[in-house]
């Protein structure tokens, strides 16, 4: 095998492959033009829907030109004449009944039902998009019909009742948009949604057929309404509430987790092979309940020597980035900017940061997982970070802790203080024990050069976590071996309900002992550290939130009026 020339005498250089092209498997650079492991996919029907929407706009513009208007009307009337030839008197009443499917009442029931369900299941993004798109469809339909001012079909007998100008058919657009809302905000992707789409298509198709049979609409009125009421909303739902990021699901538990089967599974295997040279033989979700900020998974890999190694991975996507933003945003409003609450700008930055922190903490000698880097699944949208898997460990607190384990837990905080790092999420599920060793995991929230307040909070949370599996007196006495009494006093002066992670707070509540007051009694008295920080920015954000709530209320009122929901 050839070797790269050594930079210094005595060195042997690095082995390189003699082949010009990249190896078919194993670590390799993705050449320009090659798709990423999981390319962002646009469904073919979306392309058609966009084309239909664009064509409809062009059609409306064309209808302002007299020859086009005349030609289209002549063609429409010819089609309607053909349909009226098929009229059969006994069928007329049935068609009139079918045309009531799109009545105001039916549309209102569907729309309010969808809104109510979205509120119940707290799917707010879908709700906002649904509001917006229903409003846009209602306004565009009303606006275009006013501008075009198209008459109802002429030269044929109209059997049913009608309301307003005919282009586009507003009842068809209204029924289509509410059904699109039902299908894309309430029905989970997959078999049920496919059935839902076919059901909606059948209902809308029957409704359109009835309206054409009764000659209350021109054929082009119906087609334009379908483009506006179905093609546009479906495209918007797919763009703004993609199922990968905002899945429609009714499963209990955290919703932040991504599906690890199908195309994503193949993409993960491919990415780990090409980017990290890891041959994955098995992927399984792991510890989903303990993580809301990523999708944790366990990877079984085999080395080129045939050994099997288990690794831990965390899959990050846009949904996790958005969760992080909301979390930090709410904290900024509730408590002010206590520390660095700036959200990450991209998924790549988020995963780069965690990888950096893992390496930093490893270099500092802290008992954190060994980093193995991260891979790109979909550029700027999905990344997987890989690290050591602590096999055979148990969560701290599953057994009573020894003095050694308590010391090692406290030593982690001491070392982080020395290095200038705060973990910011010290809780039982992030502290593992194995044979007297204590390990610290999930460093995604960690920060370098933290505020003194945050360092103090880390110590308080560690002591509370350790005390859950021992006693406040025992932990306090061990802590005095590594920390000054004033440090401990500061830690519990800075500690509040809000500074304690939810899991730890729950455990403390269930424990029954008043551990926090007990620590405060043990430590020297100290005035509480204020955690409410007021700044111009916080006031600005508060004002913006109030304005946003008012805007939302105005939207709701406009929606209710314009979409004819009352």
């Amino acid at each position: 095998m050839d070797r790269l020339s050594a930079s210094r005498e005595g060195q042997t250089g690095y082995p390189i492959s003699p082949r010009v092209a990249a190896a078919p498997s194993g670590r390799r650079r993705r050449p320009s033009g090659e798709a990423p492991p999981l390319p962002r996919q646009v469904e073919r029907s979306t392309v058609w829907y966009v084309a239909a929407a664009v064509a409809t706009v062009a059609f409306w513009v064309g209808m302002a030109v007299r020859p086009i208007f005349t030609g289209v009307t002549a063609a429409d009337v010819a089609v309607l004449r053909g349909l009226t030839q098929l009229r059969w008197h006994p069928l007329n009443a049935t068609m009139e009944q079918i045309s009531t499917i799109g009545s105001g009442l039916a549309v209102r029931v569907l729309a309010w039902g969808t809104i109510g369900l979205l509120l119940v299941v707290r799917r707010f993004r879908h709700l906002v998009v649904y509001f917006a798109i229903a409003l846009v469809v209602a306004v565009v339909a009303a606006g275009v019909s006013q501008v075009l001012g198209r008459m109802r079909p002429t030269d044929v007998t109209i059997l049913g009742s009608w309301d307003g100008y005919s282009q586009p058919s507003r009842p068809v657009a209204a029924l289509a948009v509410v059904l699109a809302g039902v299908v894309y905000t309430l029905i989970p992707r997959g078999r049920w949604r496919r059935r839902g789409v076919w059901g909606a298509v059948a209902i809308i198709g029957l409704f359109c057929l009835a309206r054409l049979y009764l000659a209350v609409d021109h054929p082009t009125d119906v087609i334009a309404a379908l483009a506006l009421g179905w093609a546009l909303p479906v495209t918007v739902f797919r763009m703004m509430t993609p199922d990968d990021v905002f899945p429609v699901t009714y499963r209990r538990g955290k919703r932040a987790h991504l599906d690890l089967s199908g195309q994503r599974r193949s993409a993960i295997v491919k990415a780990l092979d090409a980017q990290l040279g890891l041959r994955v033989t098995a992927i399984e979700p792991f510890g989903l309940e303990g993580s809301a900020g990523s999708t944790p998974l366990r990877l079984l890999t085999s080395t080129w020597d045939g050994d099997e190694v288990t690794l831990f991975g965390k899959l990050y996507a846009l949904s996790h980035l958005r969760s992080d933003r909301w979390y930090k945003f709410v904290r900024t409003i509730r408590y002010g900017r206590l520390e660095d609450e700036k959200p990450f700008s991209t998924v790549r930055r988020l995963v780069e940061y965690e990888d950096h922190l893992l390496r930093l903490l490893r270099d500092a000698g802290l008992p954190t997982p060994v980093p193995h880097g991260f891979v790109e699944i979909t550029p700027e949208r999905e990344y997987l970070i890989v690290m050591e898997f602590f096999a055979g460990c148990s969560e701290i607190g599953s057994a009573r802790l020894t003095d050694t384990e308590i010391d090692r837990g406290l030593r982690i905080i001491r070392r982080m203080w020395e290095v200038g790092v705060a973990h910011r999420d010290i809780k039982p599920s992030n502290l593992l024990t194995r044979g007297g060793e204590v390990f610290l995991i999930d460093v995604a929230f960690a920060t370098v050069r933290p505020t003194p307040w945050r360092e103090a909070v880390d110590l308080a949370n560690m002591m509370l976590t350790l005390a859950l599996a021992s006693s406040a007196q025992q932990v306090y006495s061990r802590a005095l071996l590594q920390f000054a009494a004033d440090d401990i006093a500061e830690a519990f002066a800075a500690s509040r309900s809000v500074t304690i992670p939810t899991q730890l707070r729950t455990r403390l509540r269930n424990d029954g002992r008043d551990l926090l007051p007990e620590f405060r009694r043990l430590a020297p008295q100290r005035k509480p550290v204020s955690i409410q920080l007021w700044s111009v920015q916080r006031i600005g954000v508060l004002v913006a939130v109030i304005v946003a709530v008012l805007v939302a209320a105005a939207m709701l009122a406009a929606f209710v009026q314009l979409a004819g929901l009352i």
């Binding site: 998009v129 917006a132 846009v136 006013q146 100008y165 939207m555 314009l562």
Partner: protein, 183 residues
Amino acid sequence: MSSRRHRSLPVVTALATAFLMPACATVGPSAPACGTARRLAIVAQSVPTASYVPCLATLPEGWEVTRFDVESGHTRLSLAPDRGGGRDVDVELSAECDVAGATPEPARSPGARTYLRLTTISPRYAGTLFDVFAGGCVQYRFDFDRGPHIPLMEELRDAVALFPRRQLELDLRRTYGVELNVP
């Protein structure tokens, strides 16, 4: 920073559109003017028997159209004069109307008869003006402040005219090749 803006753009656009659209939608409804056969056709379709259809002749200064609803059976439009005391004039085309108790007035169009029924003359000037013609009728319900009611009644008469259906049929056939009447 720019990429973040880029990503949130669709949601911001949707929200902004949703919020701003109502403002666009509140731009006054456009009732058909007398010369626009294409727009006037639907008014004629609403009452297929009516030999005349109401249309906007010249909207006097200070008046605006606040509503225009057309559906099978009737057409309604509302006009709001700025000096009318805050109450709109409601104009309705229907197949028939009850003119009992109304007083005949000089006809506003050949082939039509005009009636006036006042419900009060003081402190407000309120009532209904009727244009009755073959196969239809137009009612104008008004309720003006006393004082400016005389010029307002004149302006109302000028604002809404009656357009002959036969002329409309001719215009539509000639201009758009459309037959308004069912064969």
